[in-house]
Amino acid sequence: MDTVNNMNKKIDITPIDSVCPIYRETVDPTQQALDTARLVAEAEAVEARAVARQAVLDRLGLTEQEAQLLLGS
């Protein structure tokens, strides 16, 4: 879970014009670490795909522009 529904970790920040309570909750550090790791892994996967694509283009002797004309992406 990304937040803990625990009164000790809830701060009531309800403005006077709000019809229901608004709380500020702290983010679970364990979940945040997992989320950060996932985002890093996703970024690394995108980078790895780009490197692999460039390697293929190099072997074929194609520029990125030529690859886009040929493959459409």
């Binding site: 879970m1 937040t3 019809v19 950060t36 459409g72």
Partner: protein, 207 residues
């Protein structure tokens, strides 16, 4: 008003049906994450938030409706192409089970990419970037989030990234378990720092 002569109180309650069509729902509470995050809910149920890494809207799904419509309008955000994701919540706790799955149709400029994903711990609905201004918006339709049935989501999202590339995401997804949810959590960039400001409103549809 008292109970009219000849009627029981139960009969009087039954005589007041849920209004037909879309009815705006007022959440029981809203929680925001982020050090400077703020929020409020007006008398109609319009939710306003600012500088939030995440927004958790509690007490919006119930047995009264099975179909819900949500409008998300982003007025400001930080970062670039950061993921906007949702998780369903019960009692304010987001469900991060690997039960989210669905189809995505991503349009980046004129390039269309389709994908099918399973076993996710959250559902991606779009992206947001700091130069968007008041551009990003999302329209979400949910079926059976409260009922003990698979929760279904159909979503549309539009944004423009910091390189002025238009992006749209069309998604059809499910939470592949019969968990009953009463709320929904929006997250930006996995709650790692970038923030969202904007408005959300939730409607129930009565047949």
């Amino acid at each position: 008003m008292g109970v009219p002569s000849g009627y029981t109180s139960a009969q009087v309650v039954q005589a007041v049906p849920v209004p037909k069509g879309l009815v705006q729902i007022i959440p029981t509470s809203v929680a925001v994450t982020g050090g400077s995050a703020t929020g409020s809910v007006d008398t109609n149920g319009n939710i306003t938030f600012a500088l939030a890494t995440g927004i958790i809207i509690n007490g919006i799904f119930s047995a009264t409706y099975d179909y819900y419509h949500m409008r998300v309008s982003i007025t400001a955000c930080s970062g670039n192409d950061d993921n906007v994701e949702i998780r369903y919540t019960t009692g304010g706790t987001a469900n991060s089970n690997s039960s989210y799955q669905g189809h995505r149709l991503d349009i980046s400029s004129t390039t269309v990419t389709a994908s099918a994903q399973t076993g996710l711990a959250q559902q991606f609905i779009g992206s947001a970037s700091s130069t968007d201004g008041d551009t990003p918006f999302g329209l979400l339709d949910l079926l059976d989030p409260f009922a003990s049935r698979v929760t279904k989501l159909s979503s549309n999202w539009y944004s423009v990234n910091n390189s002025a590339v238009q992006k749209s995401v069309r998604g059809n997804s499910i939470f592949d378990a019969t968990t009953s949810f009463d709320g929904i959590a929006f997250r930006l960039a996995g709650l790692t720092g970038p923030t969202l400001s904007g408005n959300i409103s939730v409607y129930g549809y009565s047949k």
